[in-house]
Structure formats: structure tokens, C-alpha cells
Symmetry: D3
Subunit: 305 residues, 6 copies
């Protein structure tokens, strides 16, 4: 029986809400944290709004042939309880929550939250899987050492990950990078670690299917993580975010990137930096909900017919 | 343990969500219907947004001394599944859903939805309790016989209720009535039925505590229903509604009305006509969430300490 | 036959639109000008949005017993064509348009536009009726001599009117005045002309019925004009305006003022300074539409039953 | 003489408003209905807002060389009066209204309204012209058999049209289709009818001029209808709509599609699903107004110089 | 020479911006911090938006007779640089900044920022003046011991102040308190410290002039601090705030409270919790700007003529 | 030391604010005028909002290799004081202000303001440099002779410039032109003067790098001016503007245009027509801030490393 779209408690894609990851192949998890944000806050309401807009999603993906719920047991695990007044403690809470999820063999698909959260998530992921490859879509590299004197914030997660050996640096690609910076030598760190940095301007007016062919080669069969900062998209498509940069990627390129991960050993995904107060239409959250669904569709167990 | 406000799936007041009313003293129920709306639609998203803003509510009411959850088993029953393309069928679905709730001895507190829904709700209520008294707060009397040729819409619910004998007409009070009308003899129907009509202009700059003393007298110990159309309030306090009328009630008067029902035999309540697209701040829904909590606080089983 | 509210080309109250005032007792006229605005512009869209929201109005006024369309031939004359790049030329165009309206014996009810427009309107009015009494509701006195070196703007209309002898200064009352000013001696000019200045703070928490009794005495039977700047209201009720001032009048006080003009010899009215871009809900325009309808209801030919 | 843009009652392109289609070659008609909407309502205000934003349009189309008002007698016929509480009755009213328009030899250009309305419009069209070809731009195929148990809603119009033989199925093209669906075999119905389905992803980064060359071939000289659901566009360009899908068409592609219909035997057009509450800027309505003007420019009688 | 309102870099009331408090009697200071916020963030942009809207302010206060700039050297000291990722460090930075201001004999008038900031400000104030009296307007008492396990947040500042002996507890009044709470015994802490708690419901429909007469008595001639949380006002007047509570104070009551402090030994003031993203109109910030100006007008050196 | 983004008085890019252009190589200047606007006003707040959003900018441009502050002494000169009630007087004030700036050898980068302002700016520029080349990005040619009977408005600046010999007409390129017009022969004037007109439709889906190669050839080494009307972009990227036209340029094309001016003798630049009330997100102003920074990066003295 069909249910009218405005009807019902808003879980992600109307999935059952449960507290335990046991028995799940994959799960949506919210991390409503935004105190790592440098400019416009509001990402704490990202998970709530993404769940709301996800009512527009249906269960099959005719573009890719994926019908994920035929292959995966999936639920919405609700939100990690965060400490809104203490970023370090929040990171500790997130790590602990994800350790449990990962230990259960459940692949987490995270609804952020600002990008800080990817650091404790990857701590938990790497603890299980070892250093992972990374497909990172973002306007920013997020590899600063510190900001405002702090080691933890949404500009530093991947620096922390490198510091702690959570990434397999030869299998890291950052796509959509752009914008002004404090130095011309802005990509030095990323490149010195061996990351592949794909500038937004190298994506303008192009299909990213060829790029993703190369990325699949690079990633091979070992575990990878997908981290998608919604500000990787042009602000026209995703105005509801905290640190927008002009001249970004398009939603079709976003789909090409995620669909291009089909066949890879994806062990976790996140979609971060949706700040609903800056987009009352809800459309930024709708983009996010769609991209999370596409991530679900490329999980390894999903056989495409 | 405390939970940060942005955390978690949004049920009303973070109550457990369950499908069955069995064992409950009272329950919040959403009815996301707005196809009975004559002007601005959007009330279909009222339940969703009221639940969201209800995260600001805490469990005790220091103003009245009520601690409702000490006396009542309460849950969120989710939403009634409505037929968004057929108002008659929706009314049938609503009536059926409330029959089950009422049969279980559970007092429904409804998150609307446009005011049409009060008609099928009162069908179910009266089926169990017989004709009920009514405390109806609204800018409009909602007693038209027809609108656009139709018997069912948000301007007619109380006419239908009278037609079907669902109301104990000597125990009906309508508070906050105002605005232009199609005829000068606008109150004739209500008054001919024996309703007490309290105009908004008779409330300006006044406490409604004395009025409610009279209302309590009038209602006596028999069952009553509270139906609160958010447009009873001035649009300054509740801009997110479909048919606003200027110079309405204040939130303090709304509190006086609901708190003034303490001690009455309240068998059901609703809060209708919140249209979130017309108030992106969420504050209209916040008023609604508060008023629903206040309704919970005056249910008969709640002993005030 | 009834028409659904969203249906139809938006004229004021769905009245017929016509170009000529001949044969009309009264008419709504738009003046979509805002280049006399000192702060937030947007009042050029006031007439459009007021017409839109006026679809919520019905034809009878049960509060006052007025059924204006039984006594008056009324139409919507559309908008005066203004010169958006030249304030002086616009004033000339407005004056000419109103001369024709007034010459036809038609009482104009104006949808503004910023308050500059009242000056050329009163030129036309006084040309016919001689110096008029004035009921002026506003946060500001609008009696500056110049602003930014200019004689014409929304801060000067009543100074220009006095300069040209358009007002019967002993019959001028300004209600709702408040806010910071450039000098402590702010009311000197108004008072030196014999205006009665009623401060907003003398209205707080009070019915204005007694005041209006005095005003009716003062105005007597000679012609008066009602000029209502929507910023006379508190910004909570009318956020969509260009120079809001806190702690203003309420809509119920606005109704008391206009209804208090019943019985006076009203020869023209305006409602100015609605700036729709600052209130996407449309509710400021809705207040304006209601107040314009109330003005219509107190025109001399409307006999109250 | 020029008129300032904010000046005047808002008819489409400032055209004369008249009730009768007699003597007209083409007419704009509003259908302010949205009770066929599955998700976000608001399209009932589409016609009003499209008319407002159409003040930015001028009369010549330098890109195509069309000066439509030199060849066509055009008016704004106002809105069809709909029954907002009864979708079936609304369809009956729409059909009847369009029968009169079509009978007068007037080509209707419709301002929607949700997509349900295309069904009764095509009933009237086909009654006169026989089964028509269709250029249908949309994110969705709108060929469901039922939704929520109902035969009529914005997801079913073209199924109803096929059921009733209103379409010449070999001359139907659907452009812009995308998004998740309830089944992988989502295009089966359309394709089994012989429709050409052009997926959005086959349009990414491409000019649609070649496609339209093929479409013109396919359509030949017999009557065709253009139905443009604004959600065919990417939500970045048209955020104000009810069921947005990411990664859609661009406005330049929309222009290529409509301009590509030049020379065809266009007997009717609509632009549907503009929901103004979800785009306070008015820009979605502005896109719609432009596309309607472009449709006017490709009507058969418009000779291009 | 006058300057048009939209002209110029936005400092508070167009005052000169300077880094040093030396030689100033009073100064406006921004503290753009919001990571102590429990619900909706955004107060980090409060100072910026308050400065913007302050362009509507003029220099004299005709209601009170104050012309503050005749008596006081005032500047805008800009913003305290805060650590957006670390609340404790931010408190340290704020304290240090205010120590310098206070040491210079300059009275700080603070543009918040969330209410956490009052704690480090009062540390600096009390260091110079000893324990101070407090006029605290708020919907909340902000005297929790901890929230989410943390000692520092916007719900705890006055608890911390009591813990450290910064307040003269017999001279503390909290006005506007309301809303649901976690316990019925909600006022126990405040009252056990000797605070006077004035509930919002004891203010409904009343002038607060009598209350302030009592407060002046209570405060005597020793130093006091005014802390005004904008959520003390009803959300109708101040929608742009993070934790709104219904049925609050009015702007006229706010003026009565501040003006009622005339003659007291005011050594500092703040206006906190303006969250601009939740009020795009800017009117919440406008209220705040006005209240800050009124605070300036009651500083001890301002002689009223 | 780093400063948090929300911290501080908003000057352009946090540059020092100073009144005098002496000693500067370049300066940002605001011109908050919008009374030359034909449709939606609000550009008077463009400079304020662009400054606000410019806090997201950092000092280096890794895409082009420019580090402008290493080569240029730059400040924010604040706003030109305009006469909001008199367009001619405003033009006089602007011209006078720019004469001083230009006389000091300082290159002005203007934050508009509607496009009218380019006329008096070019008067000052040409007085110093003689007739200049022009790179003009816009949806409109802005070469009307008159509008509403006036010579001065945002539709006429370049006609006035030609009339006065301020442009070197053989070195004028207009890019992004599109939309309906009052005549088919719309480009006649521009072309008859020798302007190169590049239609938006000739830019669709194309890199503009080749075009800019030709433009550089055409411009040669003599002085040029860059005038960028934000409505040159598609409204998806810049919704906050007054006369949007669909199917416009993309931000990446905007970057290609400005970066393509590298090496030219740029003597002044402006970015006009940002109307903040129509984009509460601030993103239109963010685009503008970025484009202004890019203009700074192509000034002649900036050597690219
Ligand atoms: Mn990031
Ligand atoms: Mn980012
Ligand atoms: Mn009702
Ligand atoms: Mn109502
Ligand atoms: Mn005024
Ligand atoms: Mn005013
Ligand atoms: Mn459709
Ligand atoms: Mn569709
Ligand atoms: Mn507080
Ligand atoms: Mn508070
Ligand atoms: Mn231009
Ligand atoms: Mn333009």
C-alpha cells in the first residue's frame, strides 16, 4: 500500500528506525553537529532536513539498474548524540558510535553535520578496515593543520586522518577543489601526500565518466570511503551550505562520481555540510538525499541487473 | 541522559512512535491533509513541522503545575494515511483511524492539517462519547453549509457536526471570531444553534480568565473537545497559516483558554491550520507545539500538584 | 456563484477594473512608487501585493454593520503610471491623475507606494475641497523640510502640504509617532502648526476609542483625509515596510482609529509604505487590504444598518 | 507610451483581459489548481505569479525573429474557476472551459496549476483536433495508472489520455525524465505505447537542437500539443515546484525544445507545476513566463521574418 | 551633512570604529559567538546584522529626553575575536578583551552572540566593580549547572556567575521567565540565591513601570549590569532567535524595563541571542539596535534635559 | 593571526577603510544607488551585502597565480554618498567622487548599485584616460536612449557614454545579451557603433577562453574598463538581481571573461545590480565578491608568478 508523501515520521527513505546495527548490511546515521563550522552554521539540522526531503525518493534506480533494498538490509539508526558545546567530546562520541556500527558489519551512510565528523568516522572505519582509499568531493581540501589555533574543525579532518594513518594516501582523490586561498601553494600538502587533486575548473563543462574510470583503476579492490561535501556542488544547486564557493560541480557530475564508484569496495560514505537555514526551499537537502541514495546503490553487495 | 536538541528522529516531544493506541491514555496523531483549504495550502506539512519544533518542549509545566507524563501513558501514533486527491475518502480514512484510537480509550491530540479534519475526528469521538461540548478557537466559525458547491472543506466542519448531531450545541463556544464576511448576519447560524460566539474584538486587551470561568460552568462535567485553529491567533504570532485574519488573539490568551479547560472532561483536542511554507522560521509550528503540550496538561487524568 | 480564492486576475477585492472614474462614488487606485524611500525600497510592489491578498476579503463588515457595496459604486482604477526615475515628475503625474478622479466626484482610496505620494494626492484633493483635516497614522511625522537636500521624499509630504496650505492645521492629528530622532525638539514643527501629536507610547495597552471620540469632535463636519502609513503598526504586525520603528500600534488600534472616523466627511484615504520583499508571507499586505476595506466602510455614503 | 514595470493590474504580458475567446487566435488561460499534487502544494498560485513576473517580457523575440503580436490576436482569458475541494469536478470544469476556447478557434496557452490539468485540457483539444502529438517536458512520465488509489492526480494525466485515445502515441516524446522510481522497469508503459522517452542524462551537457530536428520529423504536420512541467528543469533554475528531481534540463535546453517546435502544427500548450511559495524570488515564475512567451512565438500563424 | 541610510560601512550607529577603549565613556562591542547555543545557531551573525539595522537610529531619544552623545564619548570597538571551535577558549578571549575595556573606564554595551558570553563579560566587570546587581530579561533563567555535561553554554552563565561570586544576588531580577521546563521546581535555584523572578505571565497586559520602580529601589546606587536576551520578547517581535518561547514580553515592556534603569549605576549592558538567519527581514536586529541605544541613554553620565 | 569569519566590521575583504585614495593603487568603492532600477529595487544594499560575503575570500588566487596584495596598495574607500531622491544629483555626486579617486592614480573597483552608476564613473575615468575600451557583461545592452522619458536610468548608461565620447567604440564588447525586446532590431544601435555583441546563446555550453583571446586582441594595450552586471549570469547563480533574464552565463564563464582580461590595461571595474532582498542566502553577493576579487587579480600591476 502506498503512503502519501507528507505522511509519517521522517526517517531516511521511510526506513525503519532502530537503535542497533546488528543484522544490517548498511544504515543511514545522522550526525547533527555544526560547531566545527567556520562561517554560516546550521548543519546541525542537516540530518533532519535530509530525512524530510528523502520522502521524495523511491526504491529503485533505473539509471544504474540498482534495486538496493533487494540486496541489503538497511535501517535508519537515528542520530549520534553529540555534545554541541565541545567539539573534542563530540568527536569522541562519534567515534564510539561508529565503532559499534562498523563492528556489526554494517556500512554507515552518514547524514552530516559539518565535515569535522568525517575524522572520527574514519577513525572507526580504519580501526576495522585499515587505511582506506578516499573519494572526496569538496570545494575545499580540508587538510589544514589548524584553524583559529584548533586541531579540530571542518577545515582539518583529512589532515588529522593523515596524521593518524587512517588513509591510504596513494588512493585519495579530491574532486571539485576551487576558490581563493591563503597561499598560492595551496595544494602542496595534498599533493605531497600523494593525493590526486582534481580542480573544479578541470571539470567545467565535462563529463566525469572518464575521470572515474581512472579513479576506479586507482582504488582497486581495497576498501574505500566516499566523503561528499555538498559545497563541492555549485551554490546554485546547493545554496544551503556554510562555506559556498562559486563555479563548482553540477548534480550530473555528482551522479557520475558516485555511480563511478560502482564495483569498488565501499566501506562507508558521508554527505556533509547541508545547512538548511540557508535554503528554505529544502532543495539542498533533496540533492543530499538523492546522493545518499546513489551511494547506497553502489555498495558492494548491490548487484546490478 | 540529556540529548542535544537537534538530535534524533522527530516525533512529537521525542515520544516513542508506535502504531497501536492500546494501553495509551493519550496520543499525538498527525493528519497531514490540506485539500480542504480555501486559500494558501501547506497544512499537509503541519504535523511534520510541529514535531520538529516540539524538540524545544520539556516535560513539566511550571505555570500550571502539570507534569503530564507522570499521570499519562502517551505516545506519538504517527500520521493517519490520507488520500491527498480525494477529500471524502480522506475523511473516511480519518474517521476509521480515530475510531480505533478512541475505542482503545486513548485521548487523541491531533496535529493538523486543515480544519476539515475535525469533522471526521468528531464523528469518531461522538460515536464513543455522544454529542460533545466544544471549545473552538478560530478566526472563523467554520459553519458554512457549502463552499464552491462542496459539503466538505475547512469552512464547513462544524456545520457537518451539527447536521449529524455530534455536538452538544448548548455547550459550544467559539472564541476569536472576526473578519469580513459575506453577510452581516454572519453569526446567525451559530447563534441559532445555541453556540456562544466570542468575538476577537471582545477579547482585545483583556485577560480571558473570566471568560473561561464562565465556559467551565457552561461545559460542566460532560465530555468536551478542544479544537484550536491557529488562525485564532493574530498573524503576528502565527504567520504560517492559510486564511489569516488581522487583529486576533494573543498567545497569552491562547494559554488562558487552554489552561482554563483544566478540570473539564476533555476527550480530544486538535491544533489545526499550521501551514509551514508561510513561516520559514518555524515559529508558528512552535506555538502549535506549545499549545498541544498545554492541551496534554489539562487532560482529566493529569493531577496538578 | 462563488469563485475560489486563487482564481482570477488580481484587482482590489475582485472589483471591476476600469480606466475612468466617471460614475463612481469611490475607487481604489494604486501608486507604485518607492523612489521617495529613505531606507528599504520595495513599496513599488505594494499595490500589486495588496490586490493579491485582498482576495481574502468579503463584502460585509459585521463588526461595524457596514455593507459598503450596497451604497457605493466602486471600482479599481488600476495604477497611476509613475516615472520611476524622477520623483518630481512622478508627483506631477500623480497630481494630474488624482485631479481627474476627484473632479469626477469619486473618493480615492490609494494603495501605496511610499508616503511621498500623499503630497500630490492632497494637492488634488485640496484643489477640490479646500484645506482638509487629516487623520495621519504613522511612526513618523513626515514633516521634515528637506532630506538629503531634497524637498520631495517620504519624510516631507506633510511639510509640503502645510507650505501649500493643503491642510486645515487645526484639524490634523498624527497617531503612533515614536522612535529616535535627530533632535529632542522633534515635535516642535507639528505642534507649532497646531497638529495634535499622539505618541505611540501614549497608546500602549490602551483602547483608542476614547481618543477617536475626541478626534471626531475636532474634525467636525468638514472634509478630512485619512493617511495610514503601515509603519504606524508595530513591525510584528507589518514587517514588510521600509522604515520600521519598534513598539508601535496594534491592528486592533488601527481598526479603532479607522472605525472611529465613521460619520466624518472623509474625502480620500491612503494606505502607504507596504514593501512586499520584506514580508514574503504577504501578511503585511493583508493588513493593508483589510485597512483599506475598513476605510471604504466609513465613507460618508455608507449607511450603517 | 511606455509604462513602468511595477505599474498596472497583472495580466499575462499586460494583455487585455477578456472573458470570451471569440475572435482570438490564441489566449493565455490560468488554471489555479493544485489538489492533484503529491508532495509540496502551491501551484494554485502559479498563474498569479507567472502573470506578475511576465511584466518583464517585451513583445519581440530577437533570437527567433518572432513578433507574435503582429500575427496573432491574443488576450488573457483569466482563470478557469476550479473546485479546490474536488478534483473530478475541477477536471469537468476545466474540460468545459477549454471546449469553449477550442471551439472558438483559439489556441490555449495554459498557466498551471499542477499537471493533472493537462488531462481535461487534452480532452477538449482532442475533441476538436483528434488525437494529438505531444512534446512533453518533465522529470516524470506522469503515466501512472493510479496513485493513492485514485485515477486522477498529477502523476496520471497521460495514462488517462492514452486510455481515452487523446494522444497519437507514435508522436509522443517525453524529455527530461529522471529520478528514482518504484520499479526498474519504469519506462515500460511509455515505451509500450510507442512514446519516445528522452532521459535527462542523455541531455546532460548537450544541445538539444539535433534532438528537436528528429522530433520535428516525427511530429509531421498534424496537430501537436506542448506540455511543459517546470520540474523538467533542474531545481537550480526552477526551485519553486512541488516534486523536484535533481540533475535536470537547463533553461537553454528548454528554449531549444520550444524553439525546435517552430513550424509544427501546435494547437495548444501548457506550462505547469510552478509553486510560488517555494521560490519567494519569483524567478521560477519568470522562467515560466518566458517559456510561455516562447510557445506563443512558435504558434503556426507566427511568420518569422 | 546628512548621509543616506544605505550609505557607508556598517558600524554601530555609524560611530567611529577604533581598537582601543582609551578615552571612551562607553563603547559598543560585538561578540560573534554562537557555539553555546542549544538549538538554532546563527547568533554569530548578530553583531553584524545589529550594526546594519542600526543605521535607522538617530541620536536623540525624545521619549526620555536623553541625548547621549552630548555626554558620552562613544565608539564601536568592533568584535572580540572568538575561537569558534572552542567555547572555553572563547570565554578566555572574551574575558581578556573586556578586562581591557573595563580597565579603561569604558562601559561596554555588547552585541551578542549567544548568552554564554555574559559569563566572561561579568568576570571582567566584577573584577573591577565587585559583585554587581543584575537586570536580566530573558525567557529562561540560564542558571543550569550543566547542559550536555558541560559547564559552559548559553543555559548556564548565571550559575557560573553565582559560583564565582560575580553577582550581588540580593540585587538580581530576572524578567520574562516562561515556558516548559524539566521540573516543576524550576525557580528553586534562582530563588534560593535570592533572585527576584518575574514571570512573563505576571507581565501580560501590564505596564512594567511599577515593577521598575521596585527594581530601582532594590538596586540602589551600587553597580548593576543589564543583560537582555532577545528571547525575553515574544517571538512575534523577535523571530530571529535560537530558543524562542511563546507568550513573552512586548517591545514597549522592554523599553519600560530599560528606561526604568535610568538613574541606576549601570556599569555594563548586553543584548544577546539575535540569530539573523531566522529573520531575513532584519527586524529582530532592529529591535536589538533600538534596545542597545536605549541602554546607552540610561548610562549614568547621561543627564536628561 | 587568523580572525574568525564572523568577526569584525565588514569592509571589503577586511581591508582597511579610509576616506582618501591617496597612495593607493586600487580601491573598492561602494555606490549604494538603486533609483535607476526599472523593476525590482534593492541594489542600494548591494555594497553592504557584498562586503559581508567577502569575508569568505582569502588573499591568493591559485587558479591564476595572482597574489594581488603583494603588488598593490588597496583599501576600501567606503561608499559614495548618493542622493536617493534625485538620480541626476546622484550622478553628479558619483562623478565628483570618482574624479578624486582617479586623479589620485587609484583604480576604482566599484560595488554597485544599479547600472546607472557606470555612466558617471566612466565620465570620471574618461576625463583622465580618454575614451576607453569596454568589456561589458550583461543580459542587456543598456544602450536605450530613454526610458519612461528619462535620459538617466539603468537601461541607458552606455548610450550616454557614447553620446559623450567616453567609449572607444571599436573596443567595446558586450557579452551575455539575451531576452525579449521591444523590437527585433535590437542590436542595431550597438552594432552601428561598432560594438561587438556576444549573445548568451552563442555562449551556451562553451568555454569563453577562445572569445577572450579575440577580445584581448581587440582591446590592445590602451585603457579598458570592465563593467559586470550580475544579471549577465543565469538567475540560478545570481537570483538576487532586479531584471533577471533566463538562460544566461555561468560563473565559470564569468571567471573566464575576467581572467581573460589579464594583461590588458584595466583602469577601472564595476560589479552592479546585486539586489540582496531577492536572495536572502547571500549567495548572489558572494558571487559578486568573488568576481570583484578576480578583477583585482587582473589589474596591470599584478604580476603573476
Ligand atoms: Mn569539506
Ligand atoms: Mn567544503
Ligand atoms: Mn477553522
Ligand atoms: Mn480559521
Ligand atoms: Mn510616513
Ligand atoms: Mn513612517
Ligand atoms: Mn508532470
Ligand atoms: Mn514532474
Ligand atoms: Mn538567555
Ligand atoms: Mn533565553
Ligand atoms: Mn546592466
Ligand atoms: Mn542587466
Amino acid at each position: 500500500e502506498f503512503v502519501a508523501r507528507p505522511v509519517g515520521i521522517c526517517s531516511m527513505m521511510r526506513l525503519p528506525v532502530q537503535a542497533s546495527p546488528e543484522g544490517l548490511d548498511a544504515a543511514f546515521v545522522g550526525v547533527p553537529l555544526d560547531i566545527g563550522t567556520s562561517n554560516r552554521p546550521g548543519a546541525r539540522f542537516g540530518p533532519r532536513r535530509i530525512r524530510e526531503e528523502s520522502v521524495l525518493l523511491r526504491t529503485a534506480n533505473p539509471s544504474t539498474g540498482a534495486v538496493p533494498f533487494q540486496f541489503l538490509r538497511v535501517a535508519d539508526l537515528g542520530d549520534v548524540n553529540v555534545n554541541l558545546y565541545n567539539l573534542q567530546d563530540s568527536c569522541r562520541l562519534i567515534r564510539a558510535a561508529y565503532q559499534k556500527i562498523v563492528a556489526a558489519g554494517c556500512v554507515p551512510l552518514t547524514l552530516g553535520g559539518d565535515h569535522t565528523i568525517t575524522y572520527p568516522i574514519l577513525q572507526a572505519i580504519a580501526e576495522k578496515h585499515g587505511p582506506v582509499g578516499l573519494v572526496h568531493v569538496d570545494a575545499h581540501m580540508d587538510t589544514a593543520d589548524k584553524a583559529l589555533g584548533e586541531k579540530l574543525c571542518h577545515g582539518t579532518p583529512f589532515r588529522r586522518c593523515v596524521d593518524e594513518g587512517l588513509l591510504d594516501c596513494k588512493r585519495v582523490v579530491q574532486i571539485g577543489i576551487r576558490g581563493s586561498s591563503t597561499t598560492l601553494d595551496t595544494y602542496r600538502y595534498s599533493r605531497s601526500q600523494g593525493f590526486r587533486v582534481v580542480l573544479a575548473e578541470d571539470c567545467w563543462l565535462k563529463s566525469l565518466v572518464p575521470l572515474m574510470g581512472e579513479v576506479r583503476q586507482q582504488m582497486g579492490g581495497r576498501p574505500i570511503y566516499i566523503s561528499f561535501d555538498i559545497d563541492g556542488l555549485d551554490p546554485a544547486y546547493a545554496p544551503g551550505t556554510g562555506t559556498p564557493e562559486i563555479a563548482g560541480l553540477t548534480p550530473s557530475q555528482a551522479l557520475e562520481i558516485i555511480r563511478g564508484c560502482q564495483g569498488l569496495n565501499v566501506v562507508g560514505c558521508d554527505l556533509v555540510e547541508v545547512s538548511p537555514p540557508y535554503d528554505p526551499s529544502g532543495n539542498t537537502a533533496l540533492v543530499a538525499a538523492n546522493l545518499l541514495f546513489e551511494m547506497l546503490c553502489v555498495l558492494p553487495k548491490v548487484t546490478v541487473v
